[in-house]
Symmetry: C2
Subunit: 440 residues, 2 copies
C-alpha cells in the first residue's frame, strides 16, 4: 500500500498544485488589466508553469500583473524542484522493486544510503538549486541593469534565472518575444544556456560532478548523460547553423559570431528549456523538424527537463548500432547495458511516440494549421519544452484541453510509468508457453 502510493501522491499533488494555481490566476489582481481570466486559460497557464513547460496562451509579460507573475514563478519553483526531488528520490530510495545492486550503484553516486538520507538528499537538492539560481540571477540582473532600472532588473533577473534553471520556458519580456532581442548577447546567451544545462542534466549528475574533485571518477550514468547532452547540443548547433545560415528571416542578417551563438542557443533550448532567440515560425522546415527531434529526446533523467531523456536515446542508438553490427551487447564506455534496460528504453520511446502521434492526429482535426506546426506544438507539450511556432495562443478549446493533458502526461507519465514498470513480484502464477512469429 505504502509502496504503491508515491506515484499516486505525485500525480495527485501536482494536480492539486495546478488547480490552486489556476484559481489564483483567475483572480482579477492576477491580470495586469485587473479583470478575471477565463478558467481554461488560467488552467492552461498553471499547468504549463507547474509542469515547467512554458507554452502560453496569453503573454506572461504583458497580460499578468506582478502578482500573477509571482504565482507563476511559485508554480515553476514548486513544480520543477518537486519533480526533480521526487524523481531523484524514486531512483534512489523508493523504487524498492529494482535490484539491490542497482540501488547500490545509485546510492554510491549520491553518497546516500539510508532513510534519514532522504532529508539530507532533499536538503542537498535545495541547496544546489538555490546556489545555481542565485548565481544565474546575479548574472542576469547585472546585464538587465543596462536596459532598465535596478529594481526591475533584479525582478527580471530572479524571474528568468528561476524559470531557466527549472527549464520552465516562461519569460516576462513581453509580446511572446522570448529572448529574441538578446540573440547576439554573449552574457545573456551563456548565462541562460548554463542555467538550462545545469537544470536539465539531472541531480544525480550534478552531485557526481561536485564530488568529482575528490572522487576523480564519474559514474557510467553521468558519463552517458554528459556526453549525449554534449553530442546533441553540438550536432544540433551545426545542423541549425548550416540550415539557417542564409535564412533572411532568422539568422541571415546576423554576424558570423552571432550566428554561432544563435545556432548554439537554439540547440540548447530543446533540452527542454523552451526559450528561443530567433523566430521559430520562420525557420526552415528541416530546422523545425530537427528541433522537434531534439525536443522529443529532451533532457537527462531526474532533472527539471522532460522528453524521453538523453540516456534513453543513448540506449536506443546503442541498440540499433548493436543490431546493425550483429553484436550481442549494447556497450557504453566499456560497460554493457542489461537487455532489460535497453528494452525499457525502447518501450518508453515507443509509448512516447504513440502518445505524440495520437495527440497530433486529434489536433490535426481540431486545429486549422499545418501539420508540422501541430507536431511541433504537441512534441513541445509532451517534452515540457515550451517552444512554439505560434500555435498556442490560437488553440481551440479542445486543442487547449489536449495540450494541457499532454503537458501533464509528458511531465508525470514517464516517471510514474518508470516506477510502475517492473513486474509486480509474486503475481506471476503461471507463464505461457513460448510461441514464435516472424519479425521484420
Amino acid at each position: 500500500m505504502l509502496v504503491a502510493s508515491p506515484p499516486k501522491l505525485l500525480v495527485l499533488g501536482f494536480a492539486l498544485i495546478i488547480l490552486v494555481g489556476a484559481e489564483l490566476l483567475t483572480l482579477p489582481i492576477a491580470s495586469a488589466a485587473g479583470h478575471s481570466t477565463r478558467w481554461i486559460d488560467a488552467l492552461f497557464t498553471a499547468t504549463s508553469a507547474t509542469c515547467v513547460t512554458g507554452l502560453v496562451v496569453v503573454d506572461t509579460g504583458t497580460y499578468y500583473s506582478t502578482f500573477g507573475q509571482l504565482v507563476i514563478l511559485s508554480l515553476i519553483q514548486i513544480g520543477g524542484l518537486g519533480f526533480m526531488t521526487m524523481a531523484t528520490l524514486f531512483a534512489v530510495f523508493l523504487k524498492r522493486r529494482i535490484s539491490l545492486k542497482e540501488r547500490l550503484v545509485l546510492q554510491e553516486a549520491l553518497n546516500q544510503s539510508s532513510i534519514e538520507g532522504i532529508v539530507r538528499l532533499v536538503r542537498k537538492v535545495l541547496f544546489y538549486t538555490l546556489c545555481i539560481e542565485a548565481a544565474g540571477a546575479v548574472s542576469f540582473t547585472l546585464r538587465f541593469m543596462f536596459d532598465m532600472s535596478p529594481g526591475r532588473a533584479l525582478y527580471y533577473g530572479i524571474f528568468h534565472a528561476v524559470s531557466f534553471f527549472n527549464n520552465a520556458g516562461f519569460d516576462i519580456m513581453g509580446h511572446f518575444r522570448s529572448f529574441t532581442m538578446y540573440v547576439g548577447d554573449p552574457v545573456m546567451n551563456l548565462t541562460a544556456a548554463l542555467l538550462i544545462f545545469l537544470g536539465g542534466i539531472g541531480f544525480v549528475v550534478l552531485a557526481d560532478l561536485v564530488e568529482y574533485r575528490t572522487k576523480r571518477k564519474l559514474s557510467l550514468h553521468s558519463k552517458v548523460a554528459l556526453s549525449m547532452s554534449g553530442l546533441l547540443i553540438a550536432a544540433g548547433a551545426v545542423i541549425i547553423f548550416i540550415f539557417e545560415y542564409t535564412n533572411s528571416l532568422t539568422m541571415g542578417p546576423l554576424s558570423f559570431g552571432e550566428k554561432v551563438l544563435a545556432a548554439f542557443f537554439q540547440s540548447v533550448s530543446p533540452r527542454t528549456a523552451g526559450v528561443n532567440t530567433v523566430d521559430l515560425a520562420s525557420l526552415r522546415q528541416a530546422t523545425q523538424f530537427i528541433l522537434i527531434v531534439l525536443m522529443f529526446i529532451g533532457a537527462s533523467p531526474g532533472s527539471t527537463g522532460g522528453g524521453i531523456k538523453t540516456t534513453t536515446f543513448a540506449a536506443l542508438i546503442g541498440a540499433v548500432n548493436t543490431m546493425i553490427r550483429g553484436k550481442e551487447d549494447v556497450v557504453m564506455f566499456n560497460y554493457r547495458l542489461a537487455k532489460e534496460r535497453v528494452y525499457k528504453a525502447l518501450t518508453v520511446t515507443l509509448f512516447a511516440l504513440a502518445l505524440v502521434m495520437v495527440a497530433t492526429m486529434v489536433l490535426s482535426t481540431t486545429e486549422d494549421h499545418q501539420f508540422l506546426m501541430i507536431l511541433f506544438e504537441v512534441t513541445s507539450a509532451f517534452g515540457t519544452v515550451g517552444l512554439t511556432m505560434g500555435l498556442t495562443p490560437e488553440l481551440t478549446l479542445v486543442g487547449k484541453i489536449i495540450i494541457i493533458l499532454m503537458m501533464f502526461i509528458g511531465r508525470l507519465g514517464p516517471l510514474t510509468l518508470s516506477y510502475a514498470i517492473a513486474p509486480k513480484p509474486g503475481r506471476v502464477l503461471y507463464r505461457n508457453a513460448e510461441g514464435k512469429i516472424i519479425i521484420g
Copy 2:
C-alpha cells in the same frame, strides 16, 4: 562463406535486375513517343518496379509504350516473386543461425524440411502466385470489357492483376489517376483488395490457410498476421470514413455505400499496394497522417509488401501494453513471445524510423514542398507502397536519388538486416561488465 552470401546475392541480384531494366527503359521503343528516356527517370522507374513500390516520375499508362509497360511488368513479377521466395527461403532454410526449434516451427507451417524441399517450396510459391494472379486477371478483364475492347481489357486485366498481387502499385490507367475512376465499383474494389491482401499476407500464411482444411489449426504467426491485418484495415477504414465523410474534394460527393467502399479500399492500399481510388492530396491532414502510419506498418513478413510488418507492429503493441500493465511477458493468443523477438521488433522499428526521419529531413532541404507531403513520400518509398500526394513527378534530381535509395533500402534492408541480425557465434571473445544508467 556460403552462409554469408544469400543476402549479398539478393542485394546484388536486385541491383543487376534494376540496372538491366533501366537500360531497357531508356530505349526509344520503350516510350510511347519513341524518344529515349532520361537515365535517372528510367532508373527511378526500374527501381520502383523491381522493388514493387509504384512511385512514378512519369505516367506509366501514357508515357511508356506497350514494350515499356511489359518491361515494367516483368520487373514487377521478378522483383515481387523473387523477393517473396527469397524471404520465405531465408525464414525456412537458409537462416542457419536461428535456433533449431524456431526452424521446426516454420518448417511445420510450410510442411517442408529438407534441402530438396527448396525446389518444392519455390514451385509452391510459383503455383500459388500464378493461380491468384490468373483469378484476379479474369475478374479484372471481365469488368474492363464493359469499358474497352476485349484485347485491351485482357492486357489491362493481366497488368493490374500482376501489379496488385505483387503490391507493386503500378497502373496503366493514365494521367496519374490510379483507380480513382472506379471509386464506387464493387468488382474492381473487391478484386483489387483481395489481390493486395493475398499478396501482402505472406507465403507462410497463405500455405497455412490452404492447409487449414486438413489441419484445422493455424500457426501463431498466421493468427497474429491475419488478426493484425484485419484490425489495421478495419480501424483504418473507420477513421478514414469519419475524417473524410464531409470532405467535398474526396468522399463527400459519394453515396453512403461508395463512401464505405472508398474508406475500406484506402485502408487496404497502404498494406502496401499503392493504389488509390480518391485523390490523396485532397485528403484532410489527419487522414494523410493515418495513411503514413499505415504505410509505415505495411504488410506481413515473407510477402510482396513492405513496411516494418504487421507482426512487428503486433509485437510493439504487446510490448507497450505489457509495460503499462507492469507485466513480464508479451502474450499473444496464449503464447508468450521471447524477449529477444520483441527486442528485435523494437530495434527494427527504430531503425526504420531513423531512416525515414533522416531522409525526410534531407528532402525538406532539397524539395520546396510541405513537410507532410515529403514525409508521406519518404514513408511510401521506404514501405514500397507507392502512394503519393503528388510529389514524385516534381522531385529534384537529388530528391529522385534519395527516393531511389529509400525504395531499395526499404525493400532489401529489413530482410538483409534480419538475416544478419543474430550475433555471429564464436566471435564473442569477452563480455564487458554490466553498467547501469537511468532510463526515462
